[in-house]
Symmetry: D2
Subunit: 420 residues, 4 copies
């Protein structure tokens, strides 16, 4: 259990940090000008992407399976601190071709795409030329029970006809989004067990019948890249659209979960660190009742609690990344649920304290706090609500307790004082 | 201590409830169509206002001091449940000419305006023809210490020249906003004690030099009526602009605080009740893991905690309203701080639970929850951050404790076991 | 809804306050000397009881149904503040013959005892000559589901034979305890519905076969009057032991719940007020880092939060008492669950803050805080765990929501923005 | 940053686990019989100590500086999981000669004792023949500011005369306690800076004038080994009593802090793990409302939250232990404050949940929960209240923030959207 990044990761971290300071931060005002006008700031991004690629800060998230593929061969543990650094600016990951949901799509394609699919979709994704979305959630299905997904894939000659409705799908309104990775139930496997009825189809965004019905504002903020409601009305795709085996949809979708949650968790921690830094800065400069905010005991409590909570959460994520590297995704399922739960709850808590130190200014867009706070609230749903993760962690714990009930040492009675 | 509304208030409550059900709720879609297009929905409001006035649901908040003035002569205790009912829809109060900040402006003018000022400003406000804003907060002054306000009133002939910057001023972008009530320090009272240096000027919104610099988005939501940053650059007003005595600015501003906080608190409670009702409704209809949400123990805990917290908060507000009616604003200062604190903290807490029951839908604008939740966060700053109220409640408590230290019964040592 | 105490209650309150100050507080050291020696301090109590009776501070809790009975005819609302005052000293209620469980026993007997039972048990209880215990909880039955109680009453000639085990029964080791009021399932009603199978028997404590197996320490504190485990082994009683109708046990037991919970809740609030007063006192006298504790912002937060939480809880209890007086116990069931929940959770919270201000001294018996804190933890179980009350409040709320689903105004969809 | 225990530590862990299961747990009833009779269970302990020593489970906490000393040369990181395992039974550490405050005393003596002192005190401590206490806290000094300590060491010939009062001193009533390590202010250094005025004296417990005034019950529990109030009245010791340099008292006392807090923290985590195991066990076997407790969503939430909080806290402690090993105590001061804070707050939280699952039984001494819960409350004061640690963590964070204010990247303005 060694949490130290490799020398190579440390070198990349130094380069990345400089990149953030020297190139990303100075781009913030320009980015916001575009974004406030409702335009995706490609003119800001493309030069950053070119520079990042030149410096080797590209596809950092991707271990890389084949020698001829881009990819850094960094472990998840090595990548984690890089994700934290990128995460401080919500859009920065894209400059390094490391942003969700594309990172997951690339992992998925690298594992399961056939050569033709890889050439058509994976290669331009790896080069950062196109973007993708992953269409799973549906309005009428609790995301806690995905076997109830209703989007249907009907056999249609050699290909398929897709009908259904997806929502809260991230990415479709990005100007470069070309691919929807769609999870649905195939009509040709009615007798399979519930977890073996679903398949994944690779659907070009411009396929007739695929409509972006709306870009749903999340916590009153409409993302430029979109959290969209998509409708599929008799969308036809050929046999080349099927990713992996028919009926293997869930198994495939699972494969991309673990790393993605580590990335998300570390980006959230980066945002909490930013909030803590801003909170300290403001506490040092602002005065009330004749004292610096930094000298008020309650402000000190918020700062200290934030510090110890962030440090604990980071260690938990690094531990999960290390376990993912050394024992694989199956052994890490509960750990990954735990980091999802912990970091999403952490974000709103730390951001809330930072806003309180800022006063009314904390409500305004003059700081990144209000948006990050609301984003933290949304995080408590994205990739499953808190309760689904609490439940799966508890069931894992109870299963282990049940297994040990026969065993001697843990049996309840042995720990009790026993009167004669 | 009698918290029951008068028979007249009960009758008004029944009429108001019907009005909300039959006229306000059906207007919601139309309202949102206008608002989403960035337009203030006057076409929705004006017919509602006309109808409300016809039914006597007009200026309900206003006790009314002179017989010839509109005003209902309802006590604050009587008005409180009406505010709760209106508060369920954020914009509904305006239909009854009961919305902030106008209610406060009307109270202020009714108390202190001279006949000419009353005719020019109070009468059209009472008729709902114009609206107003109250310009107090400044970007460089912690609102916890208003003696530091920097907007300056310089003597200029018989009148004044105003220079300064205000922010988070509610109302300026409402299409009917005609009046800014401005608090600032007058240059002719340099030797007065800090609380006697400020005056209030009534400034027409169209006075040259008064600029709405921006409408600040609050928690990522830009209000149609505006939470604005206002700049005053050599704004000149005549002697008729001075409200009450020069130097009495703080005393005047205080006068409008108590009732306004009761209104705010009750509207917040109305929003919490709405959230609780929606949470129950959703819990009854939504299923996960083969069970109704309503049957999960954690969802039941959220519902029950919300119920007992709302009930306690409402009793606290009614108690403060009753005390305001019977003992006046000076005796009620700490009570008013307490209801401000309690209801602002309550709102985010109850709304948070409701959102969690709704799942991802709770993040979207398909329910009122996300916006109300974020609004609850903002409430923790508007009219002063939590900490200012905690501090003033604590100091009041400590002052009483200090006073009783000489007294026998409460002295620490008497409650202690005393070993020989 | 009038929460003001009657003039008579106000006069009693003044007398009671003086009694507490002049007679109870000075007795504390003597009480603790006896108690630390493991002896029930009857020599301290009996003179206080005599004096209290002389002053009319006797059986204050008891409305009194018959003109010839002692009893004050105070409403529950009138009695509530008196209970708060007594509650500040944990044993003080006994000086006024107002302590649990006797107050409940007296109410029960006044309602349901026949003349012989009243003469034998009620009259000496009313005179404060004997004490009683109420034997309901059992070790193998979750108190959340009392229909599972297993203590059996077997027909035995004209009388009954009792077998079973009860625990956490308050009172049996009090030197004057003479009567156990026992709830059990009668074997002569097997076909009755679950809630109509239980009866109540009045069992003299000295009946052969009734054994106090142990006095269970609660939170490491062994109460002098006992929280006991009782065993009934073939305990025989005659027909005169049956209280009310056979099979009416639950109905009878319910009758004593409401008032008892109001008393408990108000005593808890008295203890919270004491803790708050001590916290202020200590904060005013203790210094750290060159400042009074009273000047630290976090200490101020604790004081202010305690004040607003106590005030809200008291209003909730007074409201429940008022409703109990005006609408009766059936209409007040959920309110009574709510005050039980709220005050038990409040106590540990407020006491915890007070201890923190006291530093290590707060852990010691040099203040009443540590014991009250632990007692607050126990309160969260006595009369049912938090979860049972949360559940019943939630089910009540959901039932109302279900009933209103057909009604127009509250229906979910009407509150939603409705896109075209 | 490698958190894995060494192979040798893993082997010791296996032996220790068996020892706990096979020898300690079966001794629990016997221990409680002695303890309930008010006797320190030496007859239980001594055979366990002999066996532990034989198995090499002896002085495990002690890295060992000289080759001829006992000591395991385990790193703090290696020892940490062993402390967790021992900690599950509150008295078990003593069986391995690893209990506080002796472990700290031994570290202190190993670092600073001269040969005569080592022979007289360290050697018998290492052999487990005697025990010690560390006398620092005083009733009239906030432990947050130890420079105010008032116990005086007056020059008296070649030796010293001690006068003062200490309290909450752990250990004096242990039957083997022979040594008090006393921190006080020496009268021969009045002109030294406040942190250089104190010295440490080694005082035999049987020195005339040293009186154990009382064994203070902590949270209503009187520990057998004592949390005592000690009075020193003209206690005379010779020059051989001085440990290290005169005036170096604080520097010496600091040296024992870090490791001791790691031990404490890991023992607390062991107690939390025990509580979680008991909670699961009880949830699996107990039913309410026709369901296993384990199937209630709120119980699942408590279990899952406890799991993720314990895991995070343990990682934080292991990280601090690793840092203590690799960078030394000076660099680890804030980390050590953090683990003290986090584990003390964790304990009461986890224990509280476990008690709630147990129902009334959780209040009784039939489980270890009630005592551990109250102990957790006391932990929030021992070694300094939460607030002192929060304050020192915050000041450290703010100092770093202040240092970076000049630096470019973190400056507040750079993270803000910047309107033109």
């Amino acid at each position: 259990m060694d949490f130290a990044p490799s020398p190579r990761a440390q070198a990349l971290q130094a380069t990345l940090q400089r990149f953030m300071d020297d190139l990303v931060l100075p781009s913030l005002p320009e980015w916001h000008r575009w974004a406030d006008a409702g335009l995706y700031p490609l003119d800001v991004l493309e030069p950053l992407k070119a520079k990042a690629r030149e410096l080797g800060l590209w596809n950092l998230f991707l271990p890389g399976l084949r020698d001829d593929q881009p990819g850094t061969r960094l472990s998840h543990l090595d990548y984690a601190p890089l994700a934290e650094t990128m995460g401080r600016v919500q859009w920065a990951s894209e400059a390094f071709n490391c942003s969700a949901p594309d990172s997951g799509t690339m992992e998925l394609l690298q594992l399961f795409a056939n050569p033709a699919q890889a050439e058509r979709w994976l290669d331009p994704l790896l080069r950062g030329e196109i973007r993708s979305c992953f269409a799973m959630s549906e309005p009428d299905t609790a995301s806690s029970d995905p076997t109830q997904l209703q989007t249907h894939f009907t056999r249609d000659g050699a290909g398929w006809r897709i009908n259904g409705r997806k929502w809260f799908i991230t990415g479709p309104t990005h100007p470069n989004c070309r691919l929807a990775v769609v999870l649905g139930v195939s009509d040709d496997r009615p007798q399979a067990p519930p977890h073996a009825r679903h398949s994944i189809l690779l659907v070009p965004m411009d396929t007739p019948g695929l409509v972006i019905e709306r870009n749903i504002p999340v916590m009153d903020h409409q993302a430029l890249e979109g959290h969209c409601e998509l409708v599929f009305r008799d969308v036809r795709v050929g046999p080349e659209a099927l990713l992996g085996e028919a009926g293997a949809g869930f198994a495939l979708a699972q494969a991309r979960l673990g790393p993605g949650r580590v990335h998300h968790a570390m980006r959230s921690i980066g945002q909490c660190e930013l909030a803590l830094a801003l909170m300290c800065e403001r506490a040092l400069e602002r005065r009330a009742f004749g004292q610096r905010m930094a000298d008020f005991a309650n402000v000190q409590d918020w700062i200290a609690q934030s510090r110890v909570e962030i440090d604990q959460a980071r260690l938990l994520v690094l531990h999960a990344a290390w376990k993912l590297d050394t024992r694989g995704p199956a052994a890490t399922r509960t750990d990954v649920a735990a980091i999802k739960l912990v970091t999403a709850q952490l974000q709103t808590r730390v951001l809330d304290r930072a806003m309180q130190v800022f006063g009314a200014m904390g409500l305004s867009p003059d700081t990144p706090l209000a948006r990050l706070w609301a984003w933290g609230r949304a995080l408590r749903f994205l990739d499953g609500p808190d309760e689904v993760h609490l439940r799966s962690i508890a069931r894992h714990e109870l299963k282990q307790a049940q297994a040990q009930r026969g065993a001697n040492a843990l049996h309840l009675r042995r720990w009790m004082p026993q009167p004669d």
